[in-house]
Amino acid sequence: MNPETISEAERYPALSEHGRRMLAFLREHPNAPILRNESGHHLYPADVEQVRAFAQEVTSAWVSWRPDEMPGWMPAFVTRCCTEVPFYRNYGSPPARLADLPTISRADLSRDITKFVPDSVALDRLINFRTSGTTGHPLLLASHPVVAASYLAFHKRALRRHGIELRHGRGQVGVVLVGYQRKCFTYVSVTPTMDESGLAKVNLHPDDWRDADDRAKYLDALSPEVVTGDPISLRELAQLPTQFRPKAILSTSMALTPGMQHSLQARFGCPVLDLYSMNEAGPVAVFDADVGGHVLLQHRLYVEILGADGAPVRPGTRGEITLTGGFNFCLPLLRYRTGDHAALRFDGEDWILDRLEGRPPVMFRTMRNEFINNIEITHALQRLALPQYTLHQRLDGGLILRAVAGATEREAAVAALGALFGVGQRIEASSVPAFGDKVVQYTSEIPFPSV
């Protein structure tokens, strides 16, 4: 379906008159950015009810299994996976113990995502989330508008832990998502489960605004209840002369350092939540300083910690976070190794990930002395036939590109990087036959300036 041919009725089914006015407000405000894309929640009334029912379930559920216990839902979930999902069907009959099932990785998903979609999923409303990641293997993940809308249930659960209830509804803006890249998707929408409160995804890069000063004016006019972003875009937001005070800020995508968190809290006068969240499974955990770690959020997502040998580690030992379950019915996970590492403990009430190492921010410095992030590099290189590559920036600014590529593709990559980084950029490029399964795609020795 060509995005330009999707009607407003398909983007916003059952859009009310006040929802329409909110969209007009967001689009036509005199300080509005250049909105380059269209989105829409794509939720029909029955979907909205399904999302609301799920949110109610999440509100009253507990991550309830105890140490040495399996969740009650596990056996039926594993059986369903081994029956309905082509990839897991190859395992044969499910074994008695979860630990006897093979694990899967990002590489398995990237090789053929179609094998992980259950036979029972209707395809007419399937959507994809594209993730580039810092650990290699660009990934296309199957999802659904109901799944996307269900993230909010876990965001609210995370906020509730910090004493925050969301109230914005009709005529108000519920959330602004801030990005900061040369190019990113920008659009406006409404959230039907919040009485069509406004949603705006904006890019704080000045190129997406008629006047750079419009950024602060627009955000003040919207006065969103929640701001979400990553440490890079939130740092840029903090430098704008905005006056509005959100009720909370959610940080995702990359690790949020304590220093950055405290700076943002001081700047905006509100809690700043570090969410451990991923496209494969949604919001997994939220940092809670009172317990000193990331508290698990999903009652139907079982977390194991595996050692380098693939076996579960002793409680409290650090290892690879491995997921089973999830609320994305288009992508049920069976022992999915995330590539992230932590220790797991139970404190009597909550399961907590200690010493979580997710994806650190990776910033690169251009010849114009600007900072760009790894996603912009992915965009610059994505049209090239590069199955896999790594990029490293030295302290002196020189770039080292290693790629599974022939000479032609490698030279094209060098040219693309040269155009992105600017005249005079030094780039050393080499071809390699292959990388290992776990490769860190982007690394940089350049320190990222703090707020």
Partner: protein, 108 residues
């Protein structure tokens, strides 16, 4: 009655291993999924120069051939259906990038 020689046991084990490099996850898995396991049993008996009780050699050979072709057609049909499903999923995913098709409150 079969006399279990080492050669006979090796033949059975060879059947269960399957062809190297492209075997499905064990012939044992096939037996557990097949409605009757009839083809595997008849194939094993034939390789051991045996046949089911009450059948002549000709009858056993005819029934094995018939079952093999039915089973082969079933497997081919299932593979075609699975490949079509995979193509349909790829096409559906290619059409709808999530940024244009759904609103999450965060970007991961």
């Amino acid at each position: 009655m079969v006399q279990w020689t080492k050669a006979g046991v090796d033949k059975v084990l060879g059947l269960l291993d399957g062809p190297r490099g492209n075997s499905p996850p064990g012939a044992v898995a096939q037996v557990s999924h097949a409605p009757t396991g009839g083809e595997l049993v008849r194939t094993a008996l034939a390789r051991l120069d045996c046949r089911p009780a009450g059948e002549t050699v000709a009858q056993a050979q005819d029934r094995l051939a018939s079952l093999s072709s039915v089973e082969r057609e079933r497997v081919l049909r299932a593979a075609r259906v699975a490949e079509q499903r995979a193509r349909d999923i790829r096409a559906a995913l290619a059409k709808k990038a999530a940024d244009e098709s759904a609103d999450k409150w965060t970007r991961e």
